[in-house]
């Protein structure tokens, strides 16, 4: 089956490329671009298959569950794969310019290890999104963590190494919590396959403990308030392309697993109390993260706290989509928001990386002269900010709109207030940076040149974040395939 081989290819291609990139460092960037092409083709094929024929499965080696590994592609997985491929392609282009442009002696050395690690990260992400059982998810989660930690440490500076080690400790302990939970689940249900767990699971103390352990670990990895402390230093001190990857993709992996667990595997355990708790933590993240972003003096820290805030929106999906019969609006809204955030945040980090590269620093109040001479990056930052704030017609707006619609239709007014305030705060910290693009400067400051590819990838992603709002109805249709929640695409009208 073409679909099955597409699934396999999505994991094998970046894996092979990673190994080759390690052996033949000079080919690093070509291997990355090649992987982008192959992954793109595979995703197109897979999308066609999923839209036509429903969920697609691939049994690795011909052995099915429970002993073998199943890989499954439904609408949600496909969306995640698409977002991953899009971001990683952009990073592949950006990183070429990034490592060639410094007058930094260590750059060739760092580049040598960047490509294999980056491709390894891509493999881990694809494998994570395609996994169909919770133990395989653990393995991919660990792989993802290793790649991410090492990429953070790649910068080599003291702050980066410290942040990386802290991240590693959090990552490993969180994974162990998750693994313990998996064990308890297996002990209770005798299976680890996501699809069959729903029927085998009986709510009881064991499962509650297991889910609590797994959720605790995953929340730490997804940097949900209040376990977000490791994220700002890690994202802020990593090299720009790595920060982008972390904010856009890595934290989303854990969130994805949480969705699978609570909506697919154990929906019976998601009581309204639990759902509201998730929402509450999300709301706290939005408010806390946004306020912190407003107070930062450095650009990359501002963007990192913005990630903490924006991840909170994703968790609003829980209370809003929990109403299984009408939850599809929130489901599609939250996931569209996820994709929007990935594109916009990557664009922001890339633009910030350009600014940092040109100016040698990223103190916000001293940025006046630089953005004048980097109009493309400044514009990219502005466009990305548009999506983050949720102004139409961006995809960020589409996601927020659907969440709002769901909240209003279900009468959960408090989330409406949270989204409203969150948008205004986001506007606050975006405007803080943008104002420096327009201030008059006495004399232009000297700066290092930036290769055009670095600016153009940032701009393209920002434009995608804004333009993909028009594709949101298509994304919602895609998400329908295999979705664990049902309902209309929009609440209101005759239904009221």
């Amino acid at each position: 089956m073409i679909a099955a081989s597409a699934i396999a290819l999505l994991i094998l291609a970046p894996l092979a490329a990673a190994a080759l990139a390690f052996a033949l460092p000079k080919l690093g960037r070509w291997l990355a671009l090649g992987t982008a092409v192959v992954a793109g083709a595979a995703i197109v094929q897979l999308t066609r298959a999923v839209l036509a024929g429903g969920v697609q499965t691939h049994r690795v080696g011909g052995w099915g569950a429970p002993l073998g590994i199943d890989l499954r592609a439904d609408g949600l997985a496909l969306l995640m794969l698409m977002v991953t491929a899009c971001i990683c392609t952009a990073i592949s282009l950006y990183a070429q310019g990034y490592f060639r442009s410094g007058h930094d002696d260590e750059a060739p050395h760092r580049e040598r290890y960047f490509w294999p690690l980056f491709l390894f990260l891509w493999t881990a992400l694809n494998a994570l999104f395609l996994s169909a059982d919770i133990f395989n998810l653990y393995v991919t989660l660990e792989l993802l963590g290793f790649a991410a930690v090492t990429l953070v440490a790649l910068a080599g500076k003291r702050a980066a190494l410290t942040a990386a080690l802290r991240y590693l400790f959090v990552s490993l302990s969180a994974s162990l919590f998750y693994l313990l939970g998996v064990g308890l689940v297996y002990g209770q249900c005798a299976t680890v396959d996501l699809a069959s767990l729903a029927s085998k699971a009986q709510p009881g103390p064991t499962l509650w403990v297991a889910l609590a352990l797994m959720t605790g670990g995953l929340i730490a990895k997804a940097a949900l308030f209040p376990l977000h402390f490791w994220l700002p230093p890690a994202h802020a001190n990593a090299p720009a392309p790595v920060s982008a990857l972390l904010s856009a993709l890595v934290v989303k992996g854990s969130f994805y697993i949480l969705l699978r667990l609570w909506f697919e595997a154990f929906p019976a355990l998601m009581t309204p109390g639990v759902a509201q708790l998730f929402g509450g933590l999300g709301a706290a993240a939005i408010l806390w993260g946004s306020v912190q972003a407003l107070l930062q003096a450095r650009l990359k820290l501002l963007i990192a706290y913005s990630t903490v805030a924006q991840l909170g929106y994703l968790f609003l999906l829980f209370p809003l989509a929990a109403e299984r019969e009408g939850g599809f609006v929130a489901w599609s809204g939250g996931l569209i928001f996820l994709g929007a955030h990935a594109c916009a945040k990557t664009a922001m980090f890339l633009a910030a990386g350009n600014i940092l590269h040109a100016a040698g620093h990223d103190r916000i109040k001293d940025l006046d002269g630089i953005t004048h001479s980097l109009p493309i990056s400044a514009f990219a930052f502005g466009m990305a900010g548009l999506s983050l704030v949720g102004l139409p017609p961006s995809s960020g707006f589409a996601g927020k709109w659907l969440l709002l619609n769901s909240a209003l239709a279900q009468g959960q007014w408090w989330w409406v207030a949270v989204i409203f305030i969150g948008s205004l705060l986001a506007a606050g910290y975006v405007v803080r940076v943008i104002t420096h693009a327009f201030t008059r400067v006495a004399e232009p400051t000297t700066q290092n040149p930036i290769p055009p590819v670095m600016e153009w990838t940032a701009l393209t992603l920002a434009l995608l974040a804004v333009g993909l709002g028009f594709a949101s109805h298509w994304v919602a249709e895609l998400l329908r395939v295999g979705a664990p929640v049902i309902g209309p695409v929009l609440m209101g009208g005759a239904a009221s």
Binding site: F135, A155, F169, T446
Partner: protein, 124 residues
């Protein structure tokens, strides 16, 4: 009785996990924290094996054993990575602990400009 046996191992595993986690949080020395992670890992594996012994009959369930093997491999890699990173951290900071205030250092993307390293250009 098999039930009582496996429950003891279950509890032992859980206890190891808890002890390990507590040490991870409380200890400052990097090597101890890495060892704490290993202890946590061992606790989890013990739980798995205890659950495997739960199946009736002389042969325990092989699936958790397979999972434990995978887990051990992952754990070995994790430890190696952690040790290597800890070594680099110690070389860079001169301390064998993670310090909080260091994180406020300049997130410059060019070569390290820490005060005790004299190579590399100063930031603009």
């Amino acid at each position: 009785m098999p039930d009582a046996d496996h429950r003891i191992y279950l509890l032992a595993g859980a206890a190891l996990f808890a002890i390990g986690f507590y040490s991870l949080l409380v200890q400052a020395h990097l090597l101890r924290r890495i060892m704490a992670l290993n202890v946590m890992g061992s606790g989890v594996f013990l739980v798995y094996i205890a659950l495997a012994a739960q199946t009736p009959g002389p042969i325990p369930d092989p699936v958790p054993h397979a999972m434990v093997l995978t887990g051990i491999v992952v754990s070995v890699c994790a430890t190696a990575l952690a040790l290597a990173l800890a070594d680099r951290v110690q070389a860079a900071t001169g301390r064998v602990e993670l310090l909080d205030d260091e994180d406020a250092a300049a997130p410059s993307d060019t070569t390290p400009v820490a005060s005790d390293e004299h190579k590399g250009k100063p930031s603009a």
